[in-house]
Symmetry: C2
Subunit: 340 residues, 2 copies
């Protein structure tokens, strides 16, 4: 059905119907349908809140991203921020600005809300509200994710100390490789590698269990999620912690599909890892005394691979990358919305 | 300075610098600058959260709205939702999507953030985070406002009972009259009336003290804020409460400036009140036994005028308006984003 035929309030009812009713005992005491949602936090916790804005033509292209994937991905970006604080996701609000255009109909948004619901359920977050308007421009999605963490214990960007080890979860470069594959549908990238990379780009998995484990074990001195490339996020972490950092190129875990795709596409997987975006892994620092614990327990208990990729140094060192015998300063890189 | 010269992170630093640092003991333990904010709720409360999306060309026109007013108004829309729940505003996140265009520079956004900060400080809410991106279309502002209310006691749309009295705070129609005045700059509307209406449209005042009083005194059986016209909001309240309502035309408090402007502009102030938007007053229902308390105490203790404008009836009555001896069904009216 067209949105014009459905009407704004019919739209809200239809999308709300795609989400399971909050179970008895849910912390979301009041969801969609009133002036605000009401969320009961667990005793001893504090609220975490974060917003992520996705703009058609800037963050996604409907030619390569389906509505279900778009819903999942929009929520994943915010869930990843809660994960990077060591938080427990609880609820999310969805603001949508929708252009009048063929194809952006009830079916499209039903799929988008199904994608939201699937990722929300996987990570424990319920649809709690939002706002819906017409757009005279692109499709706009803003997700505000609400979570909780034990009071005063959220993982911050600002606690790294010289001597700490730098770790990342999972592997890097896969999302940027997936985007490159999607933009080159005829390039002869190995089919398995292409599928791995494209899935990685379209359906990112926030590292929520890893963040919870780090908080619970007090294992990390700082943490940030990698949404804009390792170089950019490492430089944010260094700035917030007033430290420098040396990364070891050969220790950065590159996404397997990205390595294969890079050869065919004549690109460098390491550049995708450093300057690509949307991997949604965690970069975190660990005091030396806890490094062995992280390496031994974290993969086993959270199902998350981890790799030590460098060391925190004095601030004067800045952020640098050692590649074989050469060491070079890393530009912060990443995506700058006003300069791109 | 242009945003291109400032850069995305320079922009964030500059806007953050316009907000006072959180005072010691602030419930906002962690504001702008990490992956998420951290907010400590008061004991015995639960979180309230709401989003309001404002799109250039749909919700505002930069020809008639300055950046300072736009910031204040964007926040007011969300604060009004917290007020309608009887909540205490605490923090807000600001998502901005910014087109490349002359005039949308550092000075413009400095004024916008100053407007946000002014309204935030007036109502006790601190800047806590957000997201900033480029826009290939219009300027987009999404505000997510976070507040708290005593657990289980937030004012809902859904508690009205037949026999309850319907009240509104303040006066209605002023914001729509202000918009009409702004669109007719040469019309010979009385200068004082014009100024009153335009101010009402550009700088709405959420009824936060009124909402808090209603919650504290357990005086309201239901409550909603009037952002889309009285007819639309009354119909939402009736639907959520499964009741009908009769409004008395002669008891609806019309904005003084709107009455004067309506004559000159050959419009009806009552239509502005019923079908205009953005008055941000509260519509609430009160059990008969509490009506005298509301009329006696609320204006005195909250500085908010209140008026009894009708009665809650059985659902089969629907929503109707009695004007002299005639009674008619009211169409829900209000702004429908997909049909407008």
């Amino acid at each position: 059905m067209s949105l014009r035929a459905l009407g704004e309030f019919g739209f809200i009812r239809a999308m709300r119907a795609r989400h399971p009713e909050a179970a008895a005992g849910s912390p979301l005491r009041l969801g969609v349908g009133d002036d605000a949602c009401a969320l009961k936090l667990s005793p001893g916790t504090e609220l975490l809140a974060t917003c992520d804005l996705l703009i058609e033509g800037v963050h996604f292209d409907l030619a390569t991203t389906g509505p279900w994937q778009l819903g999942a991905k929009a929520l994943a970006a915010s869930l990843s921020d809660i994960a990077a604080m060591g938080g427990l996701p609880r609820a999310y609000l969805v603001s949508l600005s929708i252009p009048k255009r063929k194809g952006l109909d009830e079916g499209f948004f039903a799929a988008l809300y199904d994608g939201l619901a699937a990722w929300g359920q996987s990570f424990g977050a319920e649809l709690a509200g939002g706002d819906t308007t017409r757009s005279p421009g692109p499709l706009v999605i803003d997700i505000c994710c609400l979570g909780e963490a034990e009071a005063g214990r959220a993982l911050l960007r600002s606690g790294a100390k010289p001597g700490d080890k730098a770790f990342v979860t999972g592997s890097l470069g896969g999302s940027a490789a997936g985007l490159a594959c999607l933009k080159a549908p005829r390039a002869k990238v190995d089919a398995d590698a292409r599928a791995l990379c494209e899935k990685r780009h379209l359906l990112p998995q926030p590292r929520y269990l890893a963040g919870r484990w780090l908080l619970d074990r007090k294992a990390a001195s700082s943490c940030i999620d990698i949404s804009d490339g390792l170089a950019s996020e490492a430089s944010h972490l260094c700035a917030a912690s007033h430290v420098g950092m040396r990364l070891e190129a050969q220790d950065i875990p590159l996404h397997q599909g990205a390595c294969a795709a890079a050869k065919t596409l004549r690109r460098k997987a390491l550049d995708w890892a450093l300057y690509g975006g949307e991997d949604y892994e965690l970069l975190f620092t660990v005091p030396p005394a806890k490094a062995a614990l992280v390496e031994a327990e974290m993969p086993r208990l959270t199902g998350t691979p981890v790799a030590c990729i460098g060391e925190v140094l004095a601030p004067r060192v800045g952020l640098c990358l050692r590649d074989g015998r050469h060491s070079r300063r890393l530009a912060a890189g990443g995506y700058n919305h006003f300069r791109a």
